[in-house]
């Protein structure tokens, strides 16, 4: 709601939300169950538009150089221009009809000038030369010196291919998306007689970026995204419960196959009706088994944010003095990976022109690398790791995660569950948060089970889990061989900027975590 200023750091910063957890939820179409996942009308899966010709965003090279000349005109060390165009669509089915639809179109360019650790920034929503030069002049004002070097030519870099940059969700007929949403809704309704309300939400976006640097390099990418969320309310003997499931991806529309939609529907319903049997656990410290997939939220909060190099550069992270040291068992390897095929968190290039990569944070138990943007990489004298990301052209980039997960380990899931006499098994999560300096983090369990004598017995009501990053890492005592990247959509918030991320995990045993619950 409207509360622009509430708790600026503790809440607006570093907040991870599963899409749909805080928002209303989301959907499948009968045509899809019937036949192939691809749409029945319109270009099959958002593909085709002829290849674009001419300069990206229609900006001629001489204009780029002219704007860069203004940006570097007062002695900045470095400048970049970030052009961005986004179109998006959202369809919401409530009360068995499309009750809400929204589109948005956004276009603009941000100019950043860096001088030492100081950043000047301005943006324009009008891409004419005059407006762009004006923004550059504003950003340049942080420096006071002789004009810097302006590139003679601007080369366009070739990008790798971790997803298909030719995808245009805008080219898929709205009719197909509408059918998808209504179909999922109907399937939810039919799945269980106890379902009394359903909300199905479909969202897609076509996101085009063009980064031009004062070093004479440029990077042009299209980053497609879509997601489908199914949420329901069930009623039994006068009691109501709610649950949801979602799929988020950079794949094209054909991702919504009958199998995927059935999984979406079954999981959404199962996660709802299981809550009728849920109990509030007794609170306190206990062994916690993190199920494969969404439990990657632990990594995101317990270590990922703490390894973002801006916090370490400022010496404000709990990990700032631990580089190269053993912080977990030797079978623990944690990575942040921008290269996973079609993952929501994948990028070909970051938002300041550094190549995406797979970055190892913890290598066989030892702290190995921070997540860098340009500024922090320069500070540490290392190469950027491709983590410089931003919410939009209205924001400056900073180190952010992509897809964060733990590599598989030597144990098996069954072996792990059976080893616990009394504890908690975590299946899905909705959100989390961390204090960077103290290392204390929380993550919120949406669905989980009591473990009694090595068996999953009863579902538990949603509770909060809380731990300390470095301490929890030392308590990871078993890691299974079943690494799963969660297919649900996650959005990470830091300094009031949101970016899409992914996460994953094999089944893991943490010897003790504090679980919220009854006194």
């Amino acid at each position: 709601m409207h509360d622009p200023t509430f708790d600026p750091f503790a809440l607006d910063r570093r907040r991870l939300l599963q899409l749909g957890a805080a928002v209303t939820a989301g959907a499948i179409a009968h045509p899809l169950f019937a036949a192939n996942g691809a749409s029945s009308s319109g270009p099959a899966a958002g593909r085709p538009t002829p290849p674009e010709t001419g300069a990206p965003f229609g900006i001629p090279p001489e204009d780029l150089r002219a704007v860069l000349a203004v940006a570097m005109g007062r002695g900045g060390d470095f400048a970049d221009l970030y052009f961005e165009r986004t179109r998006s669509l959202q369809l919401v089915c409530e009360d068995d009809k499309i009750s809400r639809a929204a589109t948005s179109a956004d276009l603009g360019m941000g100019v950043r000038v860096v001088k030492g650790d100081t950043v000047g920034y301005a943006f324009t929503e009008v891409l004419d030369l005059k407006a762009m030069k004006q923004a550059a002049s504003t950003a340049a004002a942080i420096a006071q010196g002789k004009p810097g070097v302006v590139p003679q030519a601007i080369a366009l870099a070739k990008l790798p291919r971790f997803y298909d940059p030719e995808i245009r969700h805008g080219a898929v007929a709205v009719e197909a998306k509408r059918n998808l949403v209504l179909g999922v809704n109907e399937a939810l309704r039919k799945k269980d007689a106890r379902i009394v309300k359903t909300v199905v939400t479909y969202t897609d976006s076509d996101h085009e970026i063009y980064v031009v640097t004062s070093e004479g390099l440029s990077f042009h990418d299209h980053q497609p995204m879509s997601r489908l969320i199914a949420s329901c309310v069930a009623e039994q003997a006068g009691r109501r419960e709610t649950g949801l499931y979602n799929i988020a991806t950079r794949k094209d529309f054909s991702v919504y196959t009958p199998q995927a939609l059935q999984r979406l529907v079954s999981e959404a319903v199962r996660r709802t009706v299981m809550m009728f049997d849920a109990v509030t656990p007794k609170g306190g410290e206990m062994p916690v088994v993190l199920g494969a997939g969404p439990s990657g939220i632990l990594l995101h909060e317990a270590i990922g944010h703490g390894m973002e190099a801006d916090f370490n550069r400022k010496n404000t992270s709990v990990y700032a003095s631990k580089m190269g040291k053993a912080i977990a068992e030797p079978f623990v390897t944690i990575v942040d990976d921008g290269t996973l095929t079609d993952a929501r968190g994948s990028i070909h290039v970051d938002d300041e022109g550094s190549a995406s990569q797979k970055t190892v944070l913890v290598d066989n138990g030892k702290l190995a690398s921070y997540l860098h943007d340009r500024i922090s990489a320069k500070h540490y004298g290392v190469a950027p790791t491709g983590n410089g990301r931003r919410e939009s052209f209205r924001h400056v980039p900073m180190p952010r995660m992509r897809s964060t997960y733990m590599e598989k380990g030597p144990h098996s899931r069954d072996e792990i569950v059976q080893s616990v006499k009394k504890g908690l098994y975590c299946e899905s999560f909705s959100n989390g948060q961390v204090n960077i300096g103290g290392g204390d983090f929380t993550f919120f369990l949406k669905t989980g089970w009591l473990i009694e004598d090595g068996k999953l017995t009863r579902p538990v009501k949603d509770v909060n889990l809380i731990g300390n990053g470095p301490e929890v890492l030392t308590r990871i005592s078993m890691v299974a061989d079943d690494l799963t990247i969660d297919e649900g959509g996650w959005t990470c918030g830091k300094n009031a900027q949101s970016v899409p991320v992914s996460q994953g995990m094999p089944t893991v045993l943490v010897k003790a975590i504090t679980v919220g619950g009854a006194a």
Partner: protein, 441 residues
């Protein structure tokens, strides 16, 4: 943005005409414009200077019984025509929804009745003065050798909205906003506790002394040194004013027309019932001159009016907008809260702590969530132990778990210190025993 929003007004008029010409029976056009500056100073050095100037339009199209909202930041006339044409076309592809209508003319604001939410001094604030304000916060935060880093941030904005509807709706509202904050990290071996402080307001004068903010954040961070988990149990709870908003926003998720209509509210059927302690009175007031949530009209264009939400513990109203109001057969109040104001108590925080005798003082919540359907919530807490009626050692890694249906009935006292740096203006609160989980300690 232009001074009287004249340009935005013209843009909105043209768009409304155009959408009607394109065949939409009804439409509402919202045009927003804003400018702002953000200055960040860290440890004596300017870290970031950002200037923003932004405009955009949202068109709510009602065509042939169908509804959709379309937003763009590209207001060039040629682009706008194409955008509006696509907007109407897409809306027509959807399904009819008989409940999607505009409120009748007699219910909406038809003549702008602007609230004075702008600081006349805004234009006089230059970059140097901004840097000085942030630098003063930063400098005041330093001094103790345990301080690792201080970041001071000043964000300000001057913005406005014009809203025009085919039902005669005409609203204009401008406003300024200033937020000044400090974040401080201090040293505790490998751990680096951090804390913050903030002031915010519609006028620059509302920010108070920058030095006080820097000092407060540092003191709070130093107070975190040595924080550890403690044994949990059923403990008395005092929640400091700055943290109360988290709990209250959890509660409010269940208080909307949308939550009611979608059967996602534990407050369903509770209208007129006692849902909280009789000490609790919460009133929504969009008309406060200094309120950060103030507005002269809401998202449906209904004129601002104050109404009671909870009075002496009784639930009197929900936040119902026009659409869900129609579906529920309820009179619309407003789809979202503006400034939610609690009737404060007489005592300062120190007295609440004294009254609690033994328990926990929560200074901030961490993560957590709340289920608006069942009322169950669980959230991480940071704060201080309360020992013999006095503030004791810092605690962390603990969880508060409860259910809103019973939790708010255990409210035993309100402080005299409403939080003014946000739109939930609620003072510190004291609750009888709450379920707090901790470690082995």
């Amino acid at each position: 943005m232009s001074n009287a929003m004249n340009q935005e007004q013209k843009t909105a008029e043209r768009a409304l005409d155009q959408v009607k010409k394109l065949g939409a029976q009804d439409a509402v056009v919202v045009v927003r414009a804003s400018r702002g500056v953000e200055v960040q100073v860290r440890d004596g050095k300017l870290e970031k200077l950002q200037e923003s100037r932004s405009a955009g339009m949202t068109v709510h199209v009602y065509a042939d019984g169908r509804y959709a909202a379309h937003t763009t930041s590209d207001l060039r006339p040629t682009e706008l025509n194409a955008f509006l044409s696509d907007a109407v076309k897409l809306t027509r592809m959807l399904d009819p929804d008989p409940e999607r209508t505009l409120p009748p003319p007699e219910l909406v604001l038809r003549k702008p009745a602007e609230l004075p939410l702008s600081d006349a001094e805004y234009g006089k604030l230059d970059t140097d003065r901004r840097k000085k304000l942030a630098a003063a916060v930063d400098a005041a935060g330093h001094g103790d050798p345990r301080v690792i880093s201080v970041t001071a941030n000043l964000s300000d904005e001057d913005g406005g909205t014009v809203m025009l509807g085919s039902n005669g709706l005409h609203g204009v509202q401008r406003g300024t906003y200033y937020g000044l904050s400090a974040e401080v990290t201090v040293s505790e071996g490998d751990k680096r506790p951090e804390e913050w402080s903030q002031a915010a307001g519609r006028k620059l004068t509302a920010l108070g002394k920058p030095e006080a903010l820097g000092k407060e954040a540092t003191q709070r961070a130093l107070d975190r040194i040595g924080a550890k988990t403690q044994k949990g149990g059923e403990l008395a709870l005092v929640v400091e004013n700055r943290a109360v908003g988290t709990l209250l926003s959890f509660y409010l998720q269940a208080a909307t027309g949308s939550a009611l209509q979608q059967k996602r509210s534990f407050l369903d059927g509770q209208a007129g019932q006692l849902v909280a302690s009789e000490l609790l009175t919460l009133r929504d007031d969009p008309t406060l001159a200094d309120g950060l949530g103030s507005r002269s009209f809401d998202r449906d264009g209904l004129p601002a009016q104050a109404f009671p939400f909870i009075e002496n513990g009784k639930l009197l109203n929900f936040f119902v907008d026009w659409y869900y109001g129609k579906k529920l057969g309820m009179k619309p109040t407003s789809g979202g809260w503006s400034n939610l104001v609690a009737t404060p108590g007489k005592d300062p925080l120190a007295t609440l702590v004294q009254q609690a005798k033994t328990g926990v003082l929560v200074t901030s919540f961490s993560g957590g969530n709340s289920n608006p359907l069942t009322g169950d919530f669980s959230v991480g807490i940071q704060g201080r132990l309360i020992v013999d009626g006095a503030i004791g050692p810092p605690v962390t890694e603990m969880n508060l778990t409860g259910n809103h249906k019973t939790f708010w009935k255990r409210l035993e006292a309100l402080g005299n210190d409403p939080w003014l740096a946000g739109s939930l203006r609620v003072p510190s609160l004291r609750f009888a025993g709450a379920a707090i989980a901790g470690g082995k300690a």
